[in-house]
């Protein structure tokens, strides 16, 4: 499952980050590492951008960025 497909309220665990090296580093640097728990807070129209909560703070991601976050859904 990819992050941009998740609905608000969903809790998931990051299982991988794909995409080019600069984007991966950026996402890893923002705390989206393997095993990190996140919650989808809300989506803008067309899910672009989306807001998630990770490591105790809120992060907005473009759809094109969220597509590169592979997740495992824990709770819907």
């Amino acid at each position: 499952m990819r992050l941009h497909n998740l609905k608000p309220g969903t809790i998931a665990i990051v299982s991988d980050i794909v995409g080019n090296s600069a984007l991966r580093k950026k996402l890893l640097g923002m705390g989206l590492t393997k095993g990190a728990k996140l919650r989808v807070v809300r989506n803008a129209p067309l899910k672009d951008p989306m807001e998630i909560e990770v490591r105790g703070y809120h992060l907005s991601l473009r759809k094109a960025e969220a597509e590169n976050v592979i997740v495992e859904v824990k709770e819907e």
Binding site: S21, A22, G29, M30, G31, G56, Y57
Partner: protein, 230 residues
């Protein structure tokens, strides 16, 4: 004069601390070649003079954005005597990532653990002394907006300026084997000898584009080197 750099994520109270340290003695300019503001100021404390340089607010030092590149280049090339890593205590987990990267660059890091009041109201109980022991560097708890901890930060900077602490962040054994191998290659081939060899080795292992291009070696060389580790 003691050269001090202030580093931290955006919104950690960096400007508040910069102003508290320097007062009216500030100079505003640009970083060379770019339209990013550079603020410098002088802080005098107990007969010592400190030049305080405010680095751009950044989340990491991977040098993908211009702000990150400015901060990384300043620390690696200008080698400040002390780097103050300003951490938002109410968002400590994400903030400490930058602190770890600074330690890895072998900067002489002092942590300014700001917004302790906010952390407390969020229900966090942070043991600054234990954090200091775990990281191997000084940690100063602060509420900078109320001036709390500023004097202690000044004292800590001066003390740290003549006491270099260079703790090593250890990875798992599997990763350490690659780091050790690349470190020996870095030393053997004098790759970027002006930078700490372990730091260069870790960046090569990350295929950090900027370090690779500065060193003038390609990813395939690194891949070949690490292929010998089983």
């Amino acid at each position: 004069m003691i050269k001090v750099a202030l580093a931290g994520n955006p919104n950690v109270g960096k400007s508040v601390i910069f102003n508290a340290l320097t007062g009216a003695k500030q100079k505003v300019g640009n970083w060379p070649g770019v339209t990013v503001e550079k603020k410098e100021g002088i802080c005098e404390h107990r007969g010592k003079k400190m030049l305080i340089v405010d680095l751009p607010g950044i989340y990491s030092l991977s040098a993908v954005s211009i702000d990150e590149k400015i901060a990384r280049d300043f620390i690696l090339n200008e080698k400040p005597d002390v780097v103050v890593s300003i951490v938002d205590a109410s968002n400590i987990e994400r903030n400490l990532y930058l602190t770890l990267q600074l330690i890895e660059m072998e900067a002489n890091v002092v942590v300014a653990l700001n917004k302790m009041d906010l952390a407390k109201s969020k229900g966090y109980r942070i043991d600054a002394r234990k954090l200091s022991a775990e990281l191997g560097i000084p940690v100063v708890p602060m509420v900078a907006i109320r001036g709390e901890g500023i004097e202690e930060l000044k004292n800590t900077i001066i003390h740290a300026s003549h006491m270099q602490r260079k703790p090593v962040i250890r990875y798992s054994d599997g990763i350490e084997r690659y780091i050790e191998l690349l470190k020996s290659k870095v030393v053997e081939n004098s790759i970027l000898p002006e930078y700490p060899s372990r730091f260069v080795a870790i960046k090569l292992l990350e295929f950090d584009e900027e370090i690779l291009s500065r060193a003038g070696i390609g990813e395939e060389v690194i891949k070949e080197w690490i292929s010998s580790v089983s």
